[in-house]
């Protein structure tokens, strides 16, 4: 088995090793950024690019945001948020399902509504709590 391994390692040249390391670094940083991001603290709802509502994810609630096509229903539950219903034809933001990590976004483009999860931003939190 070790012979086999040595057999393979001799095909990995210096430059190959370099590219292996760089690409592994890319994999690790993508994982750290997208999967190990801290759980979100707040939900930011925007309508037509303007802030509609900012709320904590701690308490469950439902809110309806009026857009040009109709009402977009947003639900917060168990520190996650989702778009329950939306009048847009392709239902992309509804199918996206629950979002919970800082930086995740669900955008209902036709109705100009977006929900975004934000992490801890201390200067705001000190005011809110």
């Amino acid at each position: 088995m070790w012979d086999k391994l040595r057999d393979n390692i001799k095909f990995i040249q210096l430059g190959d090793g370099l590219i292996l390391l760089i690409s592994l670094g890319l994999v690790v940083s993508l994982t750290a950024h997208y999967w190990l991001a801290p759980a979100g603290e707040k939900i930011i709802i925007k309508r037509g690019g303007e802030l509609f509502l900012t709320a904590s994810l701690m308490h469950p609630f439902t809110v309806a945001i009026p857009g040009p096509l109709g009402l977009t229903q947003v639900e917060v539950y168990h520190q996650r948020a989702r778009v329950v219903s939306d009048p847009s034809p392709r239902q992309l933001c509804v199918h996206q399902g629950w979002i919970s990590r800082a930086g995740e976004v669900a955008i209902c483009l036709p109705n100009q509504v977006s929900i975004e999860i934000a992490g801890t931003t201390r200067h705001y939190d000190s005011l809110n709590y």
Partner: protein, 175 residues
Amino acid sequence: MTALTIRPTTEDHRIAYMAALAIALMLMEAALPTPIPGVKPGLANIVTLLVLAQYGLRAAVWVTMLRVLAGSILLGSFLTPGFILSLSGAFASLAVLSIAQYLPKPYFGMVSLSLLAAFAHIGAQLTVVGLWLMPGVNVLYLSPAFALAAWIFGLSNGLIAAHLTKGSLDANSTT
């Protein structure tokens, strides 16, 4: 009466032979179950690497495009989103390979080429999914899984290609 005959050159035969090999690998792979849709070893890319190393970029482009086209027809995915993904990934890999083939030879071998092609492949596919197939969906959220698969399969395919080229070079030198 004049008969119209097309005389295939040796290169035509070679390209057809290699494309057939790549298609066979692609079909075999399609039968394997995958944990995540879209994550597969891409064994046919080994053929692209070998053709690139032995016959140059032109032949590699031919073999890859024939494989994508004929493979999709055999799998019944011609002109479906899956075909578009396959095609965009193939184009991106070839574009990267066309540059990466000039990397200094003793230091950058098959493993480098295979890895770079694999990352170009998933990069292009995630871009197509994000911009066209599922706009608005955060496809980058899935990128770690695809990047890890590209790393593993890029390395393994590169090693296989390295073994195979070494074998053929040895055969050439001894005969």
